[in-house]
Amino acid sequence: MAKIITMTSGKGGVGKTTSSAAVGTGLALRGFKTCIIDFDVGLRNLDLIMGCERRVVFDFINVINGEARLNQALIKDKRVENLYILPTSQTRDKDALTLEGVGKILDELKKEFDYIICDSPAGIEKGALMALYWADHAIVVTNPEVSSVRDSDRILGVIQAKSRRAEQGLEPVQEHLLVTRYDVERVEKGEMLKVDDVLEILAIPLLGIIPESPAVLKASNVGMPVVLDDKSNAGQAYADAVGRFLGEKIEHRFIKPEKKGLLDRLLRRTA
């Protein structure tokens, strides 16, 4: 049975699209047929992060409006088998989304895919609601700082009140916390919230901690999901998170400062 995973956060700029790309690619690498949908209508970015912006012809909104078939809009990833991207429109806005339209496309995708990842826009308005309404799972992306945590708390409340599962009194949406841009050294110095502090406020299971890493920006700029960079700590952390999502017991890494040798200290090596 296909699962719909919504990547959401409330706050912008915390790494929803990066995480959607990484988790979606991670699931496809594990052999699951996965589709990532960009719900950020008007601020299309997923195609850039996935490096397929030069292949976009039709989009999600064209399919909703019946101007194109789903298969015409789906872009198959060239690197990873089983991975597809459904880009959104840059010229339209969130009003182009309708619950029925989105539901119809998700139903169609469910026939073919194992996992459907909905990359939500920031905010708690229409776009975000459309992305979370049909969710079976929600991955809440949070940075270790107070405003991001508060916004994540808010979006969790929205999921518990406004999702289809809530409305129809079904089993609730399964929530997962993904802490991104975690800088161990700054946490040690007290400049950033500890994972434990975040968990205490949000009180949902921890899926992963993604360390702050230059590899993330580098990967975005070349249009490659960071999980494919298995040398980087961020890439490894995402791969671990995917494993945990699939039920594996994997210990959290990258949450203790590395013991630096004298040479490291002299060279000031980071990451």
């Binding site: 008007g42 601020l43 912006e53 030069r54 976009v56 039709f58 101007e67 015409q72 840059q90 010229t91």
Partner: protein
Amino acid sequence: MSTQVAYRDAPFQLRGSTFTMMVLKVSDPRNPNFFPVLSGKIAQAPNFFRHAPVVLDLDDLPAGVPFDFESFVKLLRNLGLIAVGLQGGTKEQQDAALAVGLALLQAPRGKVEMFDPLAGTGRSPAQGLANVQAQAQPPAHAPAPAAPVMLEPPPPPRASMLVTEPIRSGRQIYAAGCDLIVVGPVSPGAELLADGSIHVYGTLRGRALAGVSGDQNARIFCQSLEAELVSIAGLYRVSEDMDKDIRRRQVQIYLNNGFLHIDPVSA
């Protein structure tokens, strides 16, 4: 582009197109000199008239004068002219025209110029011809005409639509029924649409779709091609499929024999 979608799997493509045709205004068909004079005219430029399609216009025909479409069409045919339709006309004339296989065409806007290919004014013949728009398929958003009655004449065509500011990502500009001229750059994620041609004097990084109502003669011109997608009359190409050696160059994009061509414009 919706045209492309709807008909992709069909065994045919239905597209609107604009043709230039001669209009033959008939005022006195019973004049015994009618066909001899016409024949003499044709003899002056036989190649131009050979198998030329002709639209009949009977507006100058005095009321009550009978008009025999069948024999008239045959006589034209003998001269090498092919009658294809009737412009305007009374209800009776339209019925008679339909009966002999002529199409009914709306009278074009404005006055039809008199046609004389040898007038020696230096203009090309096409400029003197009436512009007859074959029932072009309207853009997707246009409401369908309610009944096949004479419609209100559409507003006079604008020569072009001019945009002088840079076009940001997410903006969509549609030049309805005319060409689009953009002086500044077009950002990625912006979309230009025109029923006519598109001219971009800045760098074209977004999408450009010319001839969106089906005009296959529309073209796209730009100073530096970095477009995400270009399309003419529904035929498109995404940037990934564009040759590397035309990127960032001054190009024109046009259709030829059903293929989209992107050629550098040599300066």
